[in-house]
Symmetry: C2
Subunit: 464 residues, 2 copies
Amino acid sequence: MSAPLLIASNRGPVSFEEDDSGALVECRGGGGLVGVAGASEAARAQWVCAALSAADRRAVREGRVPTGVTMLDLDPEMFDRAYNRVANATLWFVAHLLFDTASAPSFDARTARDWAAYRSYGAAFAAALAAEAAPGAAVLVQDYHLSLTPRQLRELRPDLRIGHFSHTPWAPPEYFALLPDALAREVLLGMLGADAVGFHSARWADAFARCCVQVLGADYADGVLRHEGRSTRVDVHPLGVDAAGLRARGAQPDVQSRLPHLRELVGDRQLVLRVDRTELSKNLVRGLEAYRELLRSRPQWRRRVVHLAFAYPSRHDLPEYRAYTREVQRVAREVNEQYAEDGWLPVHLEVRDDHPRSLAAYALADVLLVNPLRDGMNLVAKEGPVLSTSGVSLVLSSQAGAADELGADAHVVNPFDVAQTAEALHEALSTPAGLRAERSARRAAAASAMPPTAWLAAQLAALA
Amino acid sequence: MSAPLLIASNRGPVSFEEDDSGALVECRGGGGLVGVAGASEAARAQWVCAALSAADRRAVREGRVPTGVTMLDLDPEMFDRAYNRVANATLWFVAHLLFDTASAPSFDARTARDWAAYRSYGAAFAAALAAEAAPGAAVLVQDYHLSLTPRQLRELRPDLRIGHFSHTPWAPPEYFALLPDALAREVLLGMLGADAVGFHSARWADAFARCCVQVLGADYADGVLRHEGRSTRVDVHPLGVDAAGLRARGAQPDVQSRLPHLRELVGDRQLVLRVDRTELSKNLVRGLEAYRELLRSRPQWRRRVVHLAFAYPSRHDLPEYRAYTREVQRVAREVNEQYAEDGWLPVHLEVRDDHPRSLAAYALADVLLVNPLRDGMNLVAKEGPVLSTSGVSLVLSSQAGAADELGADAHVVNPFDVAQTAEALHEALSTPAGLRAERSARRAAAASAMPPTAWLAAQLAALA
């Protein structure tokens, strides 16, 4: 009962690995939370997260988790059901409209058991937060893994000020209705246990509010949802990047040392770059198909462009993701078989995760391809222009939250429209250097308008 | 230039076959349009439709198409692209939220060619209607195949009063946005060429209006869309059945002669019936899985129930439909392998189309299972109670338009929730005969509240 500010998320700011000798090694963050972790440290938040691996569990048991982090060693079977089956295979798919509806989802007798695990998982976070929060403390609960936690926490500690933030999009009510009725209600009621819920884009915030109105009969006016005598603010806080911190990171030796190899690979060609997890919503296959269509319909770019596609492993526990990874590899191979010439390989697909290499590639890219089917925000679109040396064109999906802020200076595309995406790549490659640099600079400014520190502060202000 | 009332639809009220001797045989209708065809004949409408088969084309060339019907002999390749690739593989999938979005749709260089065919197809109807319509005539254009026709026709004949009716659901704007932007606009502008557009349910009408507001920036107030100086009414006309006509049809010998075999098949068990095309949106696989779950979780029904599943062939030109048909057959076989006992086969799956047999089965059914993922209306849910001899329980998807009118007296289910559907089957089977008959009678009354004649009249009144 001491922390005045707490953050809760499935993945925490630290994780652990075992080195070759079997010793525990502490790793700092990864992905979009890195910046938030730095900001939270500055704000002296207590961070509650789950142990995600055997090494994490060992760290918990051996007392190796650093001050400021509470890592929950949860029952592995409960965690698997909550994390893989409910959060990632159901709620993520709903938010991103990813279901092959003729066959999935299918809620059957196992659903109740999985859902009970998801409820227990959320309750474990609520219990830990309740135990550590000072009277009247502010608690910022992150994302779809923890949609039930705000209400569970409020029941334990009505004195707390609770916020929830969704890093994903939110589904329109017609699609959210795929969920079993009782579960749909429980998700919404869980989040309405918060005093404020936040989203990266007004589109997702509006969709959430409409779901509450239609499913729960909540009242929505002036950005506030009222239901069962309680009020919950609905806010939009578009997370940006810490430009200075990111540039400092980009200047470090592990990033700089990747540059020569990349420069050699690109040569005097233009570089079309993508950096993504191999995630269904990231739309890598259509991205490669658009690049193929570019080479077909605009043959002047053959030999004059290289596509570097970083496609890092993701969620290989789910069969859809393994199949998708194979499909990405197949299309990349096909493009190379079709168009490669002596001394020119059109596509370089890299599946080995290497964050410093990604940052180095941002510096060199001429065109950044960010074409998700649907994306809460997309930080790649924001990091790219910040790290670009001489300006980068951006081909950006209209369905990414980032399009709200960057769309005016990007080539905005419908992510399902391969022909349009190919034409956008052509236009992006054709943009004169001066104009490209100008637009890139405007995007870099927009991308850093709300860095993680300001983003955290905005959420806290909403709870004040 | 003589007809005061015209109806346009892809499939017309008559079709042709060749008998064993090669002679042309005229067939009357099929599916939901039968009743409408009868009503339209009474209203002396001129019906414009497409030739759908080689026999239809021959009938056109030999002048065998009856008075009152104009059958268009369109270029087969243009028809294939417009009908299969655009209407059925794209617009139908959008309306029913059927895409496996990670891989489909993918709009590429072929899309422009297919879309041009769809535009030509709509224009051919517009030209035929323009040629046949009397000055100031009313023209009722049917369904998603002909979304562009109202505007095309208006350009030719601004004097006409034009209505469009969608027999499908309509997608929410977030899903409608899957379409390439220019095509999405063209569909909406095409339909807004009408003076009135109609839908089976307020849900679909609202979704259409929201698409027009979001995509076109149209203004929507008091049930009227205003755009580019024109006004289009948005109406809800929930098509029902002609109870007297349907009962007369059920009394005919070809129907009655099917009864003894069905009675023998059912014996003294309760009959769970479904009647559907093998269409992805009809959700046959989850229906069979729900029946399997019923037998698993409520073993008291084993040997006491028979599931007769009529799954008629549909759209076998599309690979998804062939795969789906195999999946339906696989699950039906599995249920039988798992639960069959001496003298009891749990599932009878019938894939041979036999309309009189369907009507006969309605008379005997104890429970009718209608669980589409999404359905404009669903006339099976309406025909069943009308033809039931002693009352039939209805397990009905919340996502069928028919749920608006029949939901109060049905067991309403989320079509993705197999466990809930199984429990609804249990409740439906457990309903006492008196209550079942009562609820069935109320549904029969609701189902015939707006028979085809009244439905046509309502559309004409909207154009007055």
